[in-house]
Symmetry: C2
Subunit: 352 residues, 2 copies
């Protein structure tokens, strides 16, 4: 053993690889589910004003301005139902650190967001994948567990499928589980429904949100957790004291206040998504109907990797994903109509 | 056990309490070692430009623009000697998670930065404090350890004392230790010397830096680690993928390039510090000569807590600190000359 060896658990882990991030401008990026639109004007103005603000001072440790506005917009009883973080990635890290000890276990559905496995690996914990049933339902056993099971994570809508598990099923899962059930609602604004009311009826349901997708703010790193104040108070003790940047907090506060902008942008993107789904089906793809800002599709030819390469050669990035024991396919983010048309035309050319 | 209990290790821990952060404008803040000056103009302009940049896109996962500029300014062999984070707090969290497993041990000097203990507690690890000797030297045993000792943390300059351990002593400690030695250089720009060259000669020496103090950017949350590329590559796997905000990275890149501004600001603050030290001594305080942007002082009357309250009542915040088995005193940040004069006048009034 050398002086600088990392913990043994870490030397065995496979690091998480996010989608490719090429220099701006070169590609049409439909690979990481970012918004193709700029954030609301209010956000840009707020950042420009804040640039001459108290940058030399530590930010509010609890991002109160954001929590006040968000609790009002989301109809929560008080700002204490919100814990803010440096992206929902940090929130997920806090949750795993908070609930899962070395050797204990977290559960996720499969195929799903594989970052959860990396978070378990970093913690020296175990992870367990429960395959979705046909039609993207979850088996009853997803809601059962022993004392070692300390956290269950469910992206809803799910990635890569874009599907949702109905709320009544989620409530039942939480009731039978021996631990917290985290509903990762990164894409919920595109779904028309969400689990925020379940947080109030079930204290072991926690909901994560991000401003990276529907609010077009992946660059500023801001996410949050909704849960009962008793639990959030304890989780707050394990975050870094000043985890939320002043500029990011200002931007997030302006963004969450821009609900008219959100409604219009989501409506536009959902219309583009419907066109994508129709056209992909016409091209022979099997398309999973999506409630998120991306579409999962497979083609009978099975040439997904080749399609991905062909698109990339033509300056369009989509996500090729291969899930062992399950299958591969393409996850294509909802871009602007023009970006999506470019992608669809290239796929048509590839297939002809 | 309830469904939502945190890990047992966490229910026992004492959360870290950062210095008070009142609403801006009400107090002269000399309690959290922020810069009293605004950041360089280049930073403000860079943020205002970036506000219309690609906020909807994920940021560069490795903050390359910053690492390029910082490695040039600091004379490092390449950007791969730098790992960037959401404040040096996040860097410290990554270090503890990377090296110290549940039940293993980290070491810190005493009195020192007690956040390190909280980081150990969160990890379910143990911490061990080694008291400084007279004259703020470290005993030989600070450099000795068994297999359970996985990380040693040394703030240099130290807080609350503002003192430094000489570089040749640090090199010797690293040579005898069985684990990494992290030199936390949050305040090094005020000291006139640092351990960056030791990182190249000793692969178990790692240096943390922050832009919160000397660069006047506590609001934007940016810090970094300097170490050998082999170690930083492995630590990079356990950070969140997009830990550095786009705006913060732009601001930090502009700031680290403003070396003339840094030299002038540090010189001004060190002159103010000298005046503070002289005047506090005239008022009867025992003053520890400081190499940082704060001064630690005690008074023969022992009335430190009362002085703190008196100052607060008069809108001046300083940090009252009480270290069990060691003693208490006041840690006063170096503000502007005007801010420092207000504080000194109030102390004179209290003592007369």
């Amino acid at each position: 053993m050398s002086k600088t060896d990392l913990r043994p658990a870490l030397s065995r882990m496979l690091p998480y690889t996010p989608g490719e991030q090429p220099p701006p401008g070169k590609f049409i990026k439909l690979n990481t589910n970012e918004s193709p639109y700029p954030p609301p004007q209010e956000v840009i103005r707020a950042i420009q004003d804040a640039a001459t603000g108290p940058l030399n001072r530590y930010p509010d440790p609890t991002a109160r301005s954001f929590r006040n506005e968000a609790s009002r917009v989301l109809g929560l009883p008080s700002p204490d139902w919100i814990l803010a973080g440096n992206g929902s990635d940090e929130i997920l890290t806090i949750l795993v650190r908070g609930f899962v000890g070395e050797g204990q276990k977290l559960r996720l559905p499969y195929p799903s967001y594989i970052l959860y496995r990396t978070l378990a690996d970093i913690q020296g914990a175990r992870w367990e994948q429960t395959p979705f049933l046909d039609g993207w339902h979850l088996p009853t056993m997803f809601g059962q567990g022993d004392a070692d099971l300390r956290l269950v994570l469910l992206p809803n809508p799910n990635s890569p499928s874009g599907t949702i598990v109905p709320k009544d099923e989620i409530a039942k899962l939480a009731e039978s589980l021996p631990c917290p059930l985290v509903v990762d609602e990164a894409y919920a604004d595109f779904a028309g429904d969400n689990c925020l009311d379940l947080v109030r009826s079930h204290d072991n349901i926690l909901v994560t949100r991000t401003l990276s997708k529907s609010y077009a703010l992946a660059g500023i790193r801001f996410g949050f957790l909704v849960g009962s104040p008793a639990i959030l108070g304890k989780l707050g003790n394990i975050k870094d004291s000043y985890n939320c940047d002043y500029l990011a907090t200002v931007a997030a506060t302006a963004a969450i206040g821009a609900q008219d902008w959100l409604r219009e942008t989501v409506e536009t993107m959902n219309q583009t998504r419907a066109r994508m789904e129709t056209r992909l089906a016409e091209l022979g793809f099997n398309v999973t109907p999506s409630k998120a800002n991306f579409v999962w599709c497979t083609h009978p030819s099975g040439e997904h990797e080749a399609m991905h390469q062909f698109l990339k050669k033509n300056q369009v990035l989509v996500r090729y994903m291969n899930f062992p024991d399950w299958g591969d396919g393409l996850r294509i983010s909802v871009g602007t109509d023009q970006q999506v048309d470019a992608c669809l035309m290239l796929l048509e050319r590839y297939l002809s």
